[in-house]
Symmetry: C2
Subunit: 296 residues, 2 copies
């Protein structure tokens, strides 16, 4: 069994991002810029946003965050996005999810210039993804999984991949990326969800499992074929009296019992987690290149 290490893969992606940023600055005199909008005081979101800005800065990018209160209005958020859409030093815009309940998140995303939509959440970019038009962005977490498959040179062509979950953020784009043409793709993908019958059987027949359902340790030993590749996108808190904090993080896979059967498996934490931010910053570089007609 080989552990797929998110830190190793993300470091390799970030290495390239840093180099690309340097080239863009030196050759073109432009600093790729990522600005992040956060509304409300959700502590987890605050941490995510801080890390994104810090990491972007570390890569040599321009970065900034815009904090709006919990009571912000749709108008205020749309006004800010409009300002960032028109700011030439901002190549990538990210509105941290979830916004406060009075905000219509969908229409906020729709208002982002698709060329600056580094999350790849805008319908235009989601459509390009499904069509297979690859000159734009790819969604961060699923594309992070693809980078892992590539890094470990895992054969995917013709293999049966089972994606657990049909969320817009992971399940659906994961299915699209794995089933499209190309190296480390070309899989036969089955997308399973809450209504799926014979789910255990389906998983047990898979060469590759990608779990993204948000149920702690859902994928058990009997659901995994000997030699399967298991990618765990879940991050769940469960109570653990032995920890100072009173909890620990586990994935959607029952790692301790499943790992031995796998050819490759991602741990939680330290698996897919670190990939998202790396792919986001890669998208920010792409955004800068798109907007300035730069080919790296």
């Amino acid at each position: 069994m080989q552990l797929i290490e998110g830190k190793v893969v993300s470091a390799s992606v970030l290495d390239q991002v840093k180099k690309d940023v340097e080239i863009i600055k030196e050759k073109h005199g432009i600093t790729p810029g990522l600005e992040v909008v956060i509304a409300g005081d959700d502590p987890a979101s605050q941490v995510y946003v801080r890390n994104k800005v810090l990491k972007a800065t570390e890569m040599g990018m321009h970065s900034a965050k815009h904090e709006l209160s919990n009571e912000t209005t749709q108008e205020e958020i749309l006004g800010l996005v409009d300002k960032l859409n028109n700011d030439p030093k901002v190549h990538g815009i990210l509105v941290q999810s979830p916004p406060p309940p009075q905000i219509d998140e969908r229409s906020v995303i729709d208002s982002i210039n698709p060329q600056k939509d580094v999350d790849c959440f805008h319908p235009y970019n989601v459509g390009k993804l499904l069509i297979g038009d690859e000159d734009g962005f790819l969604p961060c977490t699923p594309n992070g999984v693809m980078a892992m498959l590539e890094h470990y040179d895992i054969e995917t062509s013709g293999k049966h991949a089972v994606v657990l979950g049909r969320s817009n953020i992971v399940g659906k784009p994961m299915m699209v990326l794995m089933s499209r043409k190309g190296k480390y793709a070309n899989s036969t993908v089955t997308m399973c969800h809450s209504r799926t019958q014979n789910l255990e059987e389906m998983c047990a027949s898979a060469d590759i499992i990608v779990a993204a359902i948000g149920v702690p340790q859902f994928v058990k030993e009997n659901m995994v074929k000997e030699g399967a590749v298991v990618i765990d996108v879940g991050i769940n808190r469960i109570e653990d009296a032995s920890k100072k904090s009173g909890f620990r993080l586990v994935g959607d896979v029952d790692f301790d019992n499943v790992a031995e059967k796998c050819s490759y498996i991602t741990p939680v934490p330290g698996g897919v987690g670190p990939m998202t931010i790396a792919m986001l910053l890669k998208n920010a570089v792409t955004a800068c290149c798109l907007q300035h007609g730069i080919t790296l």
Copy 2:
């Protein structure tokens, strides 16, 4: 075995379209309009376009076709689309595929106002489809299949559906529609393609098969489970000396040998074929409603 009759289902969809057109005309004084652009003299395309315009007119819509020569330019096509985008009597625009080889079809589609994109080929509408944002258009042929499942009240929730083919026109949107939430959806979908390993086995395990690969009579008896639902989207010409024309039309399914095993099956011709135009005209009504804020 029950035959799924495309003529019956499409007639029922068109009945509703005709009623909706009447209501829009009477209540709102607006005539839904569909205009079609055709470039070149491909005989099959000429027939398709003529039928679309005739059927739209028959439904009480305004309709017209714009014929461009085989030598038309990108500029000319884009200019025409721009004119139609800005013409208030045109609610739906369709550019018949394929255009002559000098035309970049993708950028033509990108230039259509998404609110008038009744084929649902524009990335913005494709993205809305994948996201599950249903206030727009649905792609004609796959949505025609969905209308068939609904008409015959076929249980799909939790069932294993195998989609053969990953084209942008059928395979991919079919997978999206069948796996989304909702009645006559919620299937567990596997999308198979040219690289799929164990394809026969995968098909043989399916409760529902949707074949859209363009290979005559590809789906054989051994690939179909007893009681399966088989939807054949293929239309292929094969030689037949017994016919005056020297050929006949067959689907992607070996109908004669497969039919007996099925609970439901579509014939070719007379199956999915007639659905496409019906769903197109339904989209044209939707386009008119969207542009005028009409709720039916």
